[in-house]
Amino acid sequence: MAGISRRDFIRAAGGGVALGSLLFGVSNARAGGGHVVVIGGGFGGATAAKYIRLIDPTVEVTLIEPAKTYVTCPGSNWVIGGLRKIGQITMTYDGLKRHGVKVVHDMVTHVDPDKRSVKLKSGGTLTYDRLVVSPGIDFKWGKGYTEAVSQAIPHAWKAGPQTTLLRKQLEAMPDGGTFIIVPPNNPFRCPPGPAERISMVAHYFKKHKPKAKIIALDPKGKFSKQGLFIEGWKKLYGFGTENSMIDYHQTVEIEEIDPKTRTVVTGVDEFKADVLNFIPDQKAGAIARATGLAGDGDWCPIDGRTFESTLIKGIHVIGDSSIAKPLPKSGFAANSEAKVCAAAVVALLQDRPVPEPSWVNTCYSLVAPDYGISVAMVYEIDHATGKIAKVKGSGGLSPADAPQKVRKNEALYAQSWWMTITADTWG
């Protein structure tokens, strides 16, 4: 019962929590029960919390998440393009509560791996038998782009007010104006995200501001689903012609931005935007790094079979914060990783062998409301190396030069996927 008073725990957990695991001491192996604390109620954390309860309802699960609602990044580009309202992509935690997850709206400020406890901003402390950490990403501020600057020049790479701000700026921009997007370096959350955003903005401009231009200044030499996006941009937005709405520059050396004039200074030239969307480079969420789960790096190494940290025992890291290559940093992957992690956590609590994992990822993108493309893959553990690997021969991109019917189906599937994954995660 290291360092926790019963009163603190009850206060932290909002009262009424069964204290079995805490009152009868903490042990790693047991016939049932145990207390799992989950940090973060996003795609990874919410799925893990729910599935641990589904797999073994005798395990107590406490999910710590500061926000009362969660705005999904998937679909946030659709809001930017005017296809959805922000309320339509906003989730609550009522579904998780129905599964018996104790949802505590607070922030974890400190993790003590030796005492197996977490400290909350409001003052309480919780102990855990196993801890699941899914805090998403943090940004690497710099090059003139700071957190303060992001209040005027949105990154919109965490959905919510940032998404709304970018949408409002695009609405207020005059026809003939220039929208500039600066995608981040690898690795970052949602590899096809910047190109989907460009597509959605192009769709909006085509309808409402046909003289407006989009300039992408990408430090990288290629981007996810590049061939498919460009095929779509050629069909829909005149890409590659004199009248192209989109100018995509690659291997651009970004020197700095001047927030006052919304100018991007590159190694070669200066670009002035009416609306600027700067997406900074990324690293694991602060609590993961502060706990030491990233070691000296930006991201957290894990054992793919369990998602247990290879640096700190008893702590599992899932979602964007983890190094789960070749799985991408996506909501779909975070959900899939969370299910493998949940099954492993339950097995470890019961001192049983960890089940053989299996993962899927599909990243859908809309090039237009009725034009969807995807990249999919099935993953397994390669038992020769113990690492996560693509199943050879599986997965891949939507076919090139496919008939419009295929693109339309994938657009319907993209929207269908959003409904199902959010119900699977928070429902």
């Binding site: 599935y51 200044l217 290629k222 590049q226 061939g227 460009i230 890409f239 590659g240 100018d247 995509y248 520059h249 690659q250 291997t251 651009v252 590159t266 070669v268 030239d269 670009f271 899939s336 299910k339 493998v340 099954a343 089940p355 053989e356 994992p357 299996s358 993962w359 899927v360 599909t362 995807s374 999919a376 893959m377 099935v378 397994e380 553990i381 390669d382 038992h383 020769a384 199943v391 050879k392 021969g393 599986s394 997965g395 891949g396 991109l397 939507s398 076919p399 090139a400 030069d401 295929v406 994938e410 599937y413 929207q415 269908s416 996927w417 409904m419 199902t420 994954i421 119900a423 699977d424």
Partner: protein, 122 residues
């Protein structure tokens, strides 16, 4: 004025090469090869472990469901197996994405995941 114009054309040229590479015959040949050599997992996963991943796209209940992806929960086992094998072999009609995904599983895994969904009420 804009010196980056050059890199746009590079980008277009690059992308054309990319598209060609993705659909021209060498790649198509590779795909055919892949189809034969697919899904040799070192260890099979359970129907449950695989089934949970399907739930990212396939809703587990028809109640209030307004999506377009078919609900497979409660479907006959043989029907699921037949469909998955057709996807895996590349003989299914009206394919969107399942041909790419079905290639990720051994025949035993397809049986197992079909049994898992067949037992489910929806």
């Amino acid at each position: 004025m804009n010196k980056h114009k050059k890199s746009v054309y590079v980008a277009v040229a690059l992308s054309a090469a990319y598209v060609t590479a993705a659909c021209a015959s060498p790649e198509a040949g590779k795909t055919a090869l892949k189809a034969q050599a697919s899904a040799h997992r070192s260890v099979d996963a359970s129907g449950e472990a695989i089934g949970r991943t399907c739930a990212g796209c396939h809703a587990l209940s028809k109640k209030n469901y307004k999506g377009f992806v078919p609900v497979i929960a409660g479907m006959e086992k043989d029907k699921i197996v037949e469909k998955m094998k057709a996807f895996k072999a590349g003989t299914a009609k009206d394919v969107t994405i399942m041909d790419r995904i079905a290639k990720g599983y051994s025949d035993a895994e397809i049986e197992a995941v079909a049994a898992y969904y067949a037992k489910m009420k929806h």
